[in-house]
């Protein structure tokens, strides 16, 4: 949530010339990200962090799933914007500036479809690796055996296939991405 704030401002300050040129296309997914994902993520993170004593247990669990949904949606819109940079689609040039004319093309952009899948699996790899590392440290330092055996097992079950899929999807992305080849 916090790193996102920094990036929004970098678009304006570090990459102002870029934003002025492509704002018409690039702004659309960013605006969607702000409204559809950023608010969802940050609001429910607050509810999850501070709502333990105020929410029923199942509702509290739902709030972290809402954060997860918000994060995944956030990645979706950001990757759509980024994929347009790698492989521009769905626009026409008006007075030397690209102007959006097909939003659907942004979300069916092959670079986006594969790139987004890769980001999701890479996120699972990162999360599972951190969870496994914490569990391993706890098991070695005589933490709660029952809890951390279970969390280590869960992390491994996610980690191994996630690594495999990240590699396979990454390979596919490398094949389709313009200017790169196997």
């Amino acid at each position: 949530v916090v790193t996102g704030i920094v990036q929004e401002f970098e678009f304006g300050m570090n990459w102002g010339a870029y934003s002025r040129l492509v704002g018409n296309v690039f702004g659309a997914p960013l605006a969607m990200e702000g409204l559809g994902a950023f608010f969802l993520e940050s609001t429910f993170l607050g509810l999850w962090l501070f709502g333990w004593d105020k929410l029923p247990r199942r509702v509290h669990l739902l709030t972290i799933w809402a954060v997860t949904l918000g994060t995944a949606l956030s990645a979706l819109f950001i990757m759509a914007a980024n994929s347009w940079m790698q492989h521009p689609v769905g626009y026409i040039m008006v007075n030397g500036k690209p102007q959006l004319n097909d939003i659907w093309a942004l979300f069916t952009n092959p670079v986006f479809v594969w790139g987004y899948a890769k980001v999701l699996f890479a996120a699972l790899v990162t999360g599972a690796a951190v969870m496994l590392a914490v569990s391993a440290w706890q098991l070695r330092h005589r933490g709660d055996q029952a809890v951390f055996t279970r969390s280590a097992r869960l992390a491994l079950v996610i980690l191994v296939p996630a690594i495999l899929f990240t590699m396979l999807i990454g390979d596919e992305l490398g094949v389709i991405e313009p200017g790169t080849s196997r």
């Binding site: 920094v6 300050m13 018409n24 702004g27 659309a28 609001t43 709502g51 669990l61 959006l100």
Partner: protein, 192 residues
């Protein structure tokens, strides 16, 4: 814009302070984050105020308009006074409503006052940012209107819900040891 970006520092300090404060059980660590949290919370609205004031600085106010408040501005002033009075009267709900009205009225009056400009240039009128030269193309605007119609009610709904959940004032009694992240809650989450 520099000012605005500087303000981000305080928003970010404030954002991470919530989380980092509880990370180490050291008196100095906690005190430091408490100080930074307070500083961030005080400075963020102050700098936002300066930034918004700056937006209006380059617009020319004529003597005839300077002394008369338009209805929206009058509403902002009255709501602010009402908020202070309601806080002293310990009517938290109404005080909250009054500050909400103050903020909404300020934003409305600033941008209706600037219209059709969005940001007035300090050097030349030719560089003013207006609603016409900053708007996206019609197609983008149509798409975003649909997106707003879909998402805005949902955002408003869960924001209202959040405020409702956290409606009580926080007091020292609220801090019991059990909170998410400790061993017990992790155990419950994993059903072991």
């Amino acid at each position: 814009v520099d000012l605005w970006d500087g303000n981000e520092v305080w928003l970010i300090v404030r954002g991470v302070a919530f989380e980092y404060r509880g990370k180490r059980d050291r008196e100095r660590w906690r005190r430091t984050w408490d100080t930074l949290l307070t500083a961030g919370s005080v400075l963020a609205p102050l700098v936002i105020g300066i930034a918004l004031g700056d937006l209006l600085h380059w617009t020319h106010v004529t003597a005839s308009t300077a002394f008369f408040l338009n209805p929206v501005e009058l509403l902002a002033v009255l709501a602010a006074i009402a908020a202070v009075w309601l806080v002293y009267d310990r009517r938290d709900g109404f005080a909250f409503a009054a500050t909400t009205v103050t903020m909404a009225a300020c934003i409305v009056s600033i941008f209706t006052g600037l219209y059709p400009n969005v940001m007035v240039s300090s050097t030349s009128k030719a560089y003013n940012l207006t609603v016409y030269n900053t708007a996206s193309g019609p197609y983008s605007l149509k798409i975003l209107t649909i997106v707003v119609i879909i998402f805005l009610p949902a955002v408003l709904a869960y924001q209202v819900w959040t405020y409702y959940i956290f409606r009580r004032r926080v007091s020292a009694d609220d801090f019991r040891p059990a909170s998410p992240g400790d061993g017990d809650s992790l155990r419950r989450d994993l059903h072991v």
